[in-house]
């Protein structure tokens, strides 16, 4: 009987210990605020992405011309200079 009571108490303690962080995560104001902030950030990012997609040139558009220096600073590329000459593949990106 004593061992049964001990087992029940131990189970109760384990459940109580497990419950605490669960309730803390789902019911505190901080977590709700964090979730809301995250959601708003995601919406802002999505709006930003959509705006950039709307503004991006599309097939058939005349490619915006630009002049940029090479990575070593030794030469320049003027996109307009290729007009009527050769097609140009532009690959935009960064390391990350």
């Amino acid at each position: 009987m004593k061992s049964l009571i001990a087992a029940l108490i131990a189970t109760g303690l384990v459940l109580a210990a497990n419950d605490k962080p669960l309730f803390a995560q789902s019911e505190t104001g901080d977590s709700a605020k964090q979730r809301q902030d995250r959601r708003q950030r995601m919406l802002r990012n999505r709006e930003g992405r959509m705006a950039r997609d709307d503004d991006a040139p599309k097939v058939g558009d005349v490619a915006p011309v630009f002049t940029l220096k090479s990575h070593d600073g030794e030469s320049e590329t003027d996109l307009a200079a290729f007009a009527g000459e050769r097609p140009v593949v532009l690959i935009f990106g960064s390391y990350t």
């Binding site: 915006p64 593949v89 690959i91 935009f92 990106g93």
Partner: protein
Amino acid sequence: MEQMYKEYRDIAEFRLVYIREAHAADSNWPMRMAKEKNITEHKDYEQRCATAEMLIDDESLTIPTLIDNMQNEVNDLYGAHPDRIFLVRGDGRLAVAGARGPWGFEPALQEAGEWLAEFRKTGEEPPLSDEVIAEADRRAAEREKAARKK
């Protein structure tokens, strides 16, 4: 990308346009690799060039690389961030305008490869349809009108 450059550089120009970092170590969404390599948001043009140099060395890139200015002007012109591919025809019009990366990158790379393969095979640039050109001209007229209002 590098493979395509080596395969078609005899019939087309290629430029890698290095723009601001997408997931720098000090950005909102840092990449673990950025932290390991200490790739941070570019504070000045010299740092931007140095990070581009690191990319070129680490990836053994031979494709000619251009550096966007610190006002990110070319990035903004093309809505390129984080990465994007375009193919410009000889007449200056876009034959390929990829969707934004990362998901849009590979499909556009493949589309550009197919365009270049066709160009090599026939010796002529695949044509744009009249509808595509008309739609593009309509967009250009709208942009011009909006610019005049500003």
